[in-house]
């Protein structure tokens, strides 16, 4: 077993304290430079540094894993309260929506979705509540003019159009994913959301569903999708045949008429 305290003796001029402060960029420039040079030439020092970095990385990874751990009941109840006052006008908890619009869904299934994903979503099946201002105007432009499969960057937000289809009311809808990065304290946090927008009778795009995926640290790679939730919504919207690329292009050319 390595003992990093013993290893300190191999490079006596650079202490663990200095290495730790170096990791945090907290040393004077000359000292930072000195350690940088030593790291390039001193294998033992580089090994100590790598070991520290590995442990730091493991610690961060484990802390990020806390996001996957279920919250205490008390905290969950408080979150429900936080969600209610500001979002009740537009966002109704998933379980309530399912009860309102999808009688064939059992409460148990709805509850399991809620428990599994722990999110709320905005979902207007019959009368969408979210007006066109619910969609960023730049995204509206992409919905109007672009076929699926391409990624666009707007400031700190990335948008990828994923598919187009007609719902059970004959409205054209488009599914897209947004990925927004925000700085919170020392971390960059990534908010990924699956969205479905449909054209209304006036020919304007309206946000019909918004499904936040679990919040991630920027270093994590997002592979998971709430397929079940998304599929359930698509089912309820009666999403039938999805457009082919050619059909999408034709629709774009014709202004989605």
């Amino acid at each position: 077993m390595k003992d990093i305290n013993n290893e300190t003796n191999e490079a006596p001029d650079i202490s663990d304290e200095s290495l730790s402060a170096f990791m945090d960029n907290e040393l004077p420039p000359a000292h930072m430079e000195h350690i940088m040079e030593q790291l390039a030439h001193d294998d033992a020092l580089a090994d100590r540094f790598d070991t520290l970095m590995l442990a730091e990385s493991q610690r961060k990874k484990a802390l990020n894993a806390i996001d996957e751990e279920p919250m205490s009941v008390g905290l969950q109840q408080l979150i429900k309260q936080l969600e209610t006052p500001t979002q009740s006008a537009k966002i109704i908890p998933f379980t309530q929506r399912l009860k309102m619009y999808t009688p064939r869904f059992t409460t148990a299934v709805a509850a399991s979705f809620a428990a599994l994903f722990g999110f709320v979503l905005s979902y207007g099946l019959q009368q969408p509540h979210v007006d066109s201002s619910g969609i960023n105007t730049q995204i509206v432009q992409q919905l109007e003019t672009t076929v699926s499969g391409k990624k666009y960057m707007f400031a700190n937000q990335a948008v990828i159009l994923r598919a187009s289809f007609k719902n059970n009311m004959g409205k054209i809808c488009r599914q897209y994913r947004t990925r927004e990065t925000t700085n919170i304290a020392a971390e960059k946090v990534v908010h990924v959301t699956d969205n479905i927008a449909c054209r209304n009778d006036m020919g304007h795009w309206q946000l019909n569903a918004k499904i936040p995926l679990p919040i991630m640290n920027e270093s994590e790679y997002q592979t998971a999708t709430n397929h079940s939730a998304l599929d359930a919504i698509l089912d309820q919207m009666g999403a039938g045949d999805f457009f082919t690329k050619a059909q999408e292009q034709l629709s774009v050319d014709n202004g989605w008429q």
Partner: protein, 164 residues
């Protein structure tokens, strides 16, 4: 403000966990923090995140640190870490989490506090020194000792497995 608070929760949990060393107390600490923020929103000009961190930290120092109300949970980290684990979770992931959990348990309160302030709240050493009312050198040494201790514990835990 509620939406901003909701966004803060994941980081507050990590922050609280770093102080508390177990999820049970961490969630309790986060819940208390949120309740206090709701009762007393940040003064004008103060960022919500910083306000919440400050309240969380003060709660930990003033109310939780001294209390050992959940000694049982902290004495049985295996139960604490795994009782809430999804059966399909990657096993390697669980082991790593448990190892880090145990390693963090081995740190003392002072070390965990400095680690939370600098590595999660993103404070400079100077800012952290002001918060704990100690010289910058103390922050530096506590953090270095915390990292060294974590590294040693993780190596110790990894070694027997690697030699199998």
């Amino acid at each position: 403000m509620n939406n901003e608070l909701l966004k803060l929760i994941p980081i507050l949990r990590r922050y609280a966990y770093t102080f508390a060393g177990n999820l049970h107390d961490a969630d309790d600490l986060v819940q208390n923090t949120l309740e206090r923020v709701l009762k007393k929103p940040p003064p004008e000009g103060v960022e919500l995140a910083k306000w919440a961190f400050r309240i969380c930290r003060n709660l930990w120092i003033d109310e939780y640190r001294a209390a050992t109300t959940r000694q049982n949970a902290t004495e049985e980290p295996h139960l604490q870490a795994q009782a809430t684990t999804d059966g399909e979770r990657d096993v390697t992931h669980q082991i790593e989490f448990k190892q880090v959990y145990e390693a963090m348990q081995a740190l003392n309160d002072d070390q965990r506090t400095v680690m939370a302030l600098v590595t999660i709240e993103g404070m400079s050493y100077q800012e952290a020194a002001t918060v704990i009312d100690k010289p910058v050198g103390t922050v530096m040494s506590r953090l270095a000792r915390a990292r060294a201790a974590l590294t040693m514990h993780l190596q110790t835990m990894r070694t027997p497995m690697a030699s199998r």
